[in-house]
Symmetry: C2
Subunit: 351 residues, 2 copies
């Protein structure tokens, strides 16, 4: 039975605007290139792909009834040509899963695939207690059977369609997008579909994802950790749990916790990139988050660290929402990050 299928990549035009980072280039875009210019999408060539778990403990839920909890799912792809570039670990935000790094809601290439085309091994995780990592259901069973009161249940957070617009900065009011916004708002239902219950309130302290990320970086003999939103500071917390394998910290739109001087001194040894998108000034919570991250960056700098703070409009990239990995110019934003890794992390390691 012969069948043919025409697959047209709808990737946006990737034109790299000078972003104030050395080495910015549109060369070697691989499969991320403009479809109209390059014809059909170039094939993606992988040396290996698969998935595994990091961490987890055995918990007894009764006689002869053990389960595993606090493990973290990791799905990876290693491109042909890997060895030139560091592995990148991508950690999703609140109410989302590793899905965020994959195809965009309007069917364009996500960062997972794009980083692979740029010859980085990519490791996409689901946070502990989310998605394929599972969660510890013990409390739910205990409340159901009356052993624990209903108040023992964790608060489960799910972002509503309406809240998505304000938290993710699609517009000032629900249903009215910014005219120059980059989020593919015509496909917003595809974002709503990936918004799932967040059970992080169920987790012990510290969040087991931190140690699992640290262990993953160690297992990879060196990796860049990139967090977003809820997980924006997970790279830093993972480094504080054990920095041996962590080559760089990328924090995308977080509130940047206030740390002790000792913690700052430890983190200042690792190159750090902080990224914020557009429309920050229109949302008080994002103004605060941005200011906190500037204060954090100043402390890292004062401690002798290499920290780069990119406010995308300041480098000529406009209209980005909080979900910049899904925005129409998502590959342009990815190039900012990829070039920073090359120039601030990989180039430094050669000296």
């Amino acid at each position: 039975m012969m069948r043919t299928r025409r697959l047209v990549e709808t990737a946006v035009m990737v034109g790299m605007i000078g972003v104030g980072l050395a080495g910015a280039s549109t060369a070697a875009l691989g499969a991320g290139g403009d479809a109209a210019q390059e014809g059909p999408q170039k094939p993606l060539v992988l040396r290996k792909q698969g998935s595994f778990f990091v961490g987890g403990q055995t918990e007894s839920t009764g006689s002869n009834s053990d389960i595993t909890i606090n493990q973290m799912y990791v799905q990876y792809q290693i491109p042909e040509g890997a060895g030139q570039h560091l592995p990148v670990v991508m950690i999703h935000g609140c109410c989302l899963s590793g899905k965020s790094w994959e195809e965009t809601p309007d069917s364009r290439m996500g960062w997972k695939t794009y980083f692979v085309t740029r010859h980085h091994p990519v490791y996409v995780v689901d946070q502990v207690s989310r998605a394929r990592s599972g969660f510890d259901a013990t409390i739910f069973a205990q409340v159901r059977s009356g052993v624990l009161p209903p108040s023992s249940l964790p608060g489960i957070f799910q972002v509503s369609h309406q809240s998505s617009w304000s938290i993710f900065r699609f517009g000032l009011s629900f249903g009215t997008p910014f005219p120059n916004g980059q989020f593919p708002i015509e496909a917003v239902e595809g974002l709503y579909q990936q918004e799932i219950p967040d059970l992080n309130a169920l987790l012990p302290t510290p969040n087991p994802t931190y140690a699992n990320l640290s262990a993953l970086a160690g297992r990879l003999n060196g990796a860049v950790l990139m967090g977003h939103s809820e997980s924006g500071f997970f790279p830093e917390f993972a480094a504080l749990a054990g920095a041996a394998g962590i080559k760089a910290l990328i924090t995308i739109e977080h509130n940047c916790n206030t740390l002790t001087d000792d913690q700052i001194a430890a983190l200042a040894k690792i190159p750090t990139l902080i990224v914020f998108g557009d429309f920050i000034e229109l949302f008080p919570q994002w103004v605060t988050a941005n200011a906190n991250c500037h204060a954090y960056a100043d402390r890292i700098t004062a401690a002798g660290g290499d920290v780069t703070f990119v406010h995308l409009p300041d480098v000529g990239i406009f209209g980005n929402s909080h979900m910049m990995m899904l925005d129409k110019n998502n590959l342009q934003v990815a190039d900012v990050i990829l070039n920073w890794i090359e120039n601030h992390v990989e180039a430094e390691a050669e000296h």
Copy 2:
């Protein structure tokens, strides 16, 4: 910074034993070939990869607070050379996720990658209410706040380490594997890590996954549906919800529900493969399941259908557990399925 990494595929030797299916062949094993014979793993060449959701409805959880429920996550890869072979949709079993089809616990290639090397587009789903598909958390919030009593909570099922051994047929008692069993028992912790809470008790009737699978097959303009264990009969239920895009039904180790004559007549129009592994006779629940599926197959045959029932030991493949996609001979079992698709589905469609 230059780094090199030696990746050695530990894929088992795939020697196709005559299995009583026409056209069995070890040719064109692609990346699944024996590492010792072929050297490093061959690259995997993809035309496209990504993920999307099928289905889902908007649910109001209060004023200006809508969420999406009942959507199904789908992750896909389309190999170079696709067009020769039908897309295959893989549906995981109880307490598991799409992870089951990926790398095995002992780091060998899973069926997802192997089917891609055999030039099938592969679509791996997470069932509605599981993993990246999310779940409807409304009842949990209502119980926590006292609006509903604790008895309203769904029973959440999680398979314990101990139960895994009996349900998945690793041995007759926990900790003592069958000497000739194929499950990589030295890596059983990697299975425990992928066993996550099953919230299917929360789902409406009929299970929304059925209609979503039917819609997915339609969107693909034709696909083979393959279910396992809990989802072993999901292909059949999906076909009963709408058979237009469903080209074949593969049922791996299920209980084979009793259907009406009208349902049997409808399903008899679609080629069906039923697969069972080894050690069935030692487990009463599996004896019953096997017998029920034989009765089902007989009814499909009587209605004029093309049904193939493979008990693996009868075709010279021994030692398989219930988790045959993770067993040491998993690619050998995959070949049985792939050859059946070629000969009973794709070859028929050419006439």
